[in-house]
């Protein structure tokens, strides 16, 4: 049976030791009242909620799916009640400002909450999924009237927002979209067009739904510079139904409890958010946190995969192992986690999951520092670093989430391929995260072309300095000296590769695009190396505690078995000199 236990011990390690976040909170006026105990209690109760309320609906929601009938969507049994419990518990408003009715807690704690929600029920999590982003967007770009009308209801969970971007011909390229908006006499707009892939575009969790719709004004320039953002409620302030209709829901590989809707707008009433033609800029305030959250989906899937594989491998007995742990008697068949191949897989699951947790929470913590830091220079630095890490977290974590779900399924053998253990559901649910919110290929281009080469490598150099400083700090400890040396070497090689790509781009502008995917994976591995050097440094000298002993073992495993993939990625970046032929038209 699928099970979930919130990884509270490791979460506390990352928050309290790896990030030492409580000390930073003391320096941020907004979080000065937050201490270690309170943060730990928030995370523990969030875990209790996720495990107790959301986890039991995961498999049933997948099997039941959503039902569509004449424009209405019925979500799986238990989803509306779970949403009500989520809202009543105040979890929806964790990181919203207190002035709007939120709890004013850091993004870091929200990241922990989201990881657990994604581990326990990704499909359900899609409904409140963009609420926080919509809150940020409305707060930054809404007129005082719109903020007055909707902000508090988004924070309280009374209204759920959706994002309506994609059209049949406009996927990654939103510049191709055709939906139109015409100004009306009263200052509002009439929106007309068809949208697809709108998650939660229609559902039975809330009375009202607030659609954030990208559309063109009559005088709009073509392409992505001619797109404006509109706020279009399902139900208008006077109670009338707006001219928005759900035409159907998709039948999908995974997240089947999430209603992925086709929506048609027929002269629907709405209001402009932000400047005309600057819709993408208005949406941008949502981007960093939204992409981080998708990355956390990858982390959540990896954690669920790891826990379930670890438990199964401890119980399932097959064949006699070559070696057994000391003191374990011979048996006709050993638990499969004695077998080296399974140990490799399980250690990879554990090491990558825990490493990603450190990096993902770090990114969330940087967003807090960028917003709430006292020193403007440090705020700017945190903002730039978060922007650099965001595409990495989104693409690397979601790729690992899917890959690790597959590894976990392999541990289950045939039982993984059938529905009973629900590990196949993790595999199916995790796959979408590589696609939506900017496909992983778009992320790789964003990382290399915009975030690394775009500023002449400045942000990357800053990041590598942080990595090297960690290597320096760890270099004197006997347990981690070797790890520190390796981290330093790979920082150098990564810097050289980036410089090489920058130089080559002048002659061959397509070159960085050919190398972008491998560059992203290389940076992912070097960032994990950093995460494990710091974890090992914190664990050094404490091996008598099994938790820290495990950290040292995982670090050693990472440097021996996983980091060598970086050589492979460096070789592929080198290989990208070779032009790619075009395919027959």
């Amino acid at each position: 049976m699928w099970h979930y236990q919130a990884p509270l011990r490791d979460m506390r390690f990352v928050i309290e030791e790896w990030l030492a976040a409580p000390a930073d909170w003391q320096r941020m006026p907004a979080f000065a009242a937050l201490d270690v105990e309170l943060a730990a209690q928030v995370v523990e109760e969030a875990g209790r909620f996720a495990g107790g309320v959301l986890a039991p609906l995961n498999a049933s929601g997948d099997r039941q799916g959503c039902r569509f009938d004449n424009g209405r969507v019925t979500t799986p049994d238990g989803f509306p009640a779970a949403y009500q419990a989520f809202v009543d518990g105040g979890w929806a408003a964790l990181a919203c400002a207190e002035e709007h009715g939120g709890q004013g807690l850091p993004q870091l704690l929200n990241a922990a909450l989201l990881e657990m929600i994604y581990s326990t029920n990704h499909a359900w999590a899609m409904y409140p999924g963009i609420a926080h982003g919509a809150y940020e967007c409305l707060r930054a770009h809404g007129t005082p009237e719109l903020r007055e009308r909707y902000l508090a209801d988004i924070v309280s969970g009374e209204i759920l927002p959706t994002m309506c971007l994609t059209e049949p011909q406009a996927g990654s390229d939103v510049g191709l979209l055709r939906s139109r908006a015409e100004p009306a006499a009263d200052g509002s707009y009439r929106i007309t067009g068809g949208k697809i892939f709108a998650s939660g575009g229609e559902h039975d969790l809330t009375e009202n739904i607030l659609h954030l719709v990208l559309a063109r004004l009559p005088d709009a320039p073509s392409g992505s510079r001619g797109i404006s953002l509109f706020l279009v409620p399902k139900r208008l302030p006077d109670g009338r139904h707006n001219a928005v209709r759900c035409g159907g829901i998709e039948h999908k590989l995974g997240i089947r409890g999430s209603a992925t809707c086709t929506l048609s707008f027929e002269q629907a009433e709405g209001w402009l958010l932000g400047e005309p033609h600057r819709g993408l800029a208005a949406m941008f305030v949502m981007m960093n946190s939204a992409r981080l959250h998708v990355g956390l989906q990858g982390l959540g899937h990896a954690e669920a995969a790891w826990q379930n594989a670890a438990q199964y491998a401890a119980e399932r007995r097959q064949m006699r192992a070559v070696r057994r742990p000391e003191g374990r008697a011979e048996a006709p068949a050993d638990p499969i986690h004695y077998h080296p191949a399974m140990r490799r897989t399980l250690l990879e699951l554990r090491t990558l999951t825990e490493g990603m947790r450190a990096l993902g929470y770090w990114t969330a913590h940087l967003l807090d520092q960028a917003e709430q830091g006292a020193d403007p220079a440090l705020r700017a630095q945190a903002e730039s670093r978060a922007q650099l890490l965001t595409p990495l977290v989104k693409a690397y974590f979601t790729e690992q989430g899917f890959r690790l779900a597959s590894s976990a399924l392999q541990v289950f053998g045939g039982y993984g391929y059938v529905q009973d253990y629900a590990v196949e559901q993790i595999l199916r649910d995790s796959r979408i995260a590589m696609i939506y919110e900017g496909s992983n290929e778009i992320q790789a281009n964003d990382l290399l072309l915009r975030k690394v080469l775009g500023d002449g490598g400045a942000a990357l150099r800053g990041l590598l300095e942080t990595f090297r400083a960690e290597a320096e700090a760890a270099s004197t400890l006997p347990e981690c000296g070797g790890f520190a040396t390796a981290l330093g070497q790979y920082c150098d090689r990564l810097a050289t590769a980036a410089e090489g790509l920058a130089a080559a781009a002048a002659q061959d502008p397509e070159r960085p695009y050919r190398a972008a995917g491998d560059f992203l994976r290389l940076l992912g591995l070097v960032a994990l190396a950093f995460a494990w050097v710091r974890s090992a440094r914190l664990a050094a000298g404490r091996a008598d505690d099994p938790f820290y002993a495990g950290k040292l073992e995982s670090a050693a495993f990472f440097f021996a078995y996983l980091l060598p993939e970086a050589d492979h990625r460096l070789a592929l970046i080198e290989a990208s000199r070779q032009p790619l032929p075009f395919l027959p038209e």
């Binding site: 049976m1 039991p56 119980e315 399932r316 039982y415 009973d420």
Partner: protein, 309 residues
Amino acid sequence: MAILVIAEHDNAVLAAATLNTVTAARAIGGDIHVLVAGSGCAAVAESAAKIAGVAKVLVADDAACAHLLAENVAPLIAGLAKGYSHVLAPASTNGKNYLPRVAALLDVEQISEIVAVESADTFKRPIYAGNAIATVQSSAPIKVISVRATAFDAAAGEGGSASIEALAGAGEAGKSSFVGEELAKSDRPELTSARVVISGGRGLQSGENFGLLYALADKLGAAVGASRAAVDAGFAPNDMQVGQTGKIVAPDLYIAVGISGAIQHLAGMKDSKVIVAINKDAEAPIFQVADYGLVADLFEVLPELERAL
């Protein structure tokens, strides 16, 4: 050294758990006296006097003892206890109710739910819902002990000829009063004392399907239980839950139907003498504790089993 055993009864009939408790007392060794506290309980005293190995039966026949209210019977037992080395009661809901009150009145610690007697002062008892067995030694002048009846064989209910001695009643403490009782009307035995228990899990798929278990239970004279998963899913009420946080059962025969065998459930039934598991998942952990496992679709097998019995 003499041992006082508190009888379990309903004023009419001596409950079997008393016989198991007498066996535990015999393992400690010494004269065994049985206290029957109740109201109009002469027939119970007669039965107690016939238990093999009992030397004396004390009867406190008093309206105040009718329902074994702890406020009334604890002072009575504590008063008697001073003449004994050990006071034993079955770990029934009655025993669990009044006995700690007796111990505190005597200013001694109680030893709860022993499953084995090592010596007159050393006993084994399960802790952590039976996931560990502690061996504890008591230096208290009077050892107050509750006994898990299922862990001891029953003493012979016939053959003894103890004297019966009437005691003055306890009197009303005036703290509590009995209002009413609602005993399960079912002809099925009570879950924790049933000889046969049939439990259903999530595999039953609905509350209605528990009807299949009831039909079979009536055939076997069995009680019906449920796993936590089945209770959580709303298939069965809370009081049917067998497991770490529910009822602990140890019947002669336990039939687990559509139960995977989560650790919490195993904690509540693994001391059963014979365990049968019926589950279509051959890997379900329940098979690791089952004496007889049948890998099959329960919806096919249950009617067949009912016909075969």
